[in-house]
Symmetry: C2
Subunit: 226 residues, 2 copies
DNA sequence: TTAATGCTTCGATTAGCATCGAAGTATGAA
DNA sequence: TTCATACTTCGATGCTAATCGAAGCATTAA
């Protein structure tokens, strides 16, 4: 018995509610940490770890270590389209969708990526800094250029203190939507803190949403033009 | 917990090995009975019945009662394409396929459908008789016409004895490939028996394959032109 | 009617696996 | 170094569901 489970393996991987929630959370292209996925699935991190291991072994997930975090994404576009097909069929057959929903709209715009800004605005920082040659890609890491140092200092960040730590100054960090990179590392953290400090934005309780004030959003747009 | 298993339900349905085997067996478009599916999945009929109930409730299967048999098919083309997608991904990810395979080639041409001939040659009988007005569709059943009676008698079948039973003379029966109908009922049984009797074909042991002799195949083609 | 076949339901057993607590490893911060 | 965080592994528990035997229905044949 239990002989040839070609599609059965795939099915059973997707068939567990916890794993299905993780996969749908990753469907947006977002790269999520194990803890975040645990939260999405409403299970403990141990359980999540076990699931993620299985999903990875099954070839559905890819991972990328970033410091002490482990980011998971769907491994393939094929996986994405399979899930999309399944969601479509499930909807058609009346297996109604009860999943969350009210979170995303604000999260897409700006959210905390555990210590730096992600979402559209996070991507914008990256693009803006790169376009003005304030940062430059160097062998899979990012370095802050001469002009970049000036800009950061002008922006009110004491970069020297940040330099002491072993933590990289800039790091690219995956974003969802277009799987775009944004700024992580010490600089990313410092920037986000500075936004809070300037009163441009503040963190919403309980969620990962970062809420910008109208005034803050204008100032942001001025400081990070495209 | 266990909150919103949109795609999880689909996944778990496909995730069970027995069900996966049934679904892949139905992937060719063939309409199979519960017993046949049980055989395919290597489980008892009770277990199969339970699985089929779930698959039908999940909207993956459609059924058609035919006498005391219950024929199952994939309910949708969407279901078929989902399974195809999954099989493709499974192959790509290295979940090797161990399933049967060597059966089909001969079965496609001619096979026993529990008491009548199915497969391409079965479909041909249906088409030939219909084209020559030997049978006619009447309110979801088939009737043998006046000319049809002559033909059958000429072919060597004592139709009177068949008429006595309560069993319908002709019945359409689903076939796979193009989901075409072929002749079942008393007439179907009698025709197959006559083929055996004429030495045109004989049943292969252990399989559902019907092996026609070269001579038999020619005679068949002559008797059932298109 | 009786007998046979195809399928379903019921009940009990069993196996698998998701789950979490607790301890262990790794990375980063001070 | 020490402390904190992110994640993994181990072990035990408990729930779910697949499985099959046995009995019940439905259809067909004699």
């Amino acid at each position: 018995m239990k002989e040839g489970p070609d599609i059965a393996l795939l099915g059973s991987l997707i068939g567990d509610p916890a794993r299905a929630n993780m996969l749908t959370a990753l469907m947006s292209g977002k790269a999520l940490t194990a803890s975040e996925l645990a939260l999405e699935a409403s299970v403990t991190v141990q359980t999540a770890s076990s699931h993620l291991k299985k999903l990875e072994a099954g070839g559905l997930l890819g991972q990328r270590k970033q410091g002490r975090h482990k980011y998971f994404t769907l491994s393939d576009d094929d996986v994405g389209s399979l899930l999309e097909t399944m969601m479509g069929l499930a909807a058609k057959k009346g297996h109604i969708r009860i999943r969350t929903g009210p979170k995303d709209p604000a999260l897409r715009k700006a959210r905390v990526c555990y210590n730096h800004l992600a979402g559209e605005m996070g991507v914008r920082i990256y693009d803006s800094l790169l376009a003005r040659n304030f940062i430059a890609a160097d062998n899979d890491t990012l370095i802050l250029t001469e002009q970049g140092h000036s800009f950061v200092a002008e922006f009110g960040i004491a970069i020297d203190t940040a330099k002491k730590t072993r933590r990289p100054l800039c790091k690219p960090c995956l974003d969802w939507s277009a799987r775009r990179s944004h700024i992580a590392g010490t600089l990313g953290t410092e920037l986000l803190d500075r936004f809070y400090q300037l009163g441009w934005a503040k963190r919403e309780e309980g969620t990962r949403t970062v809420a910008f004030t109208p005034k803050g959003e204008k100032a942001f747009a001025a400081s990070f033009p495209l």
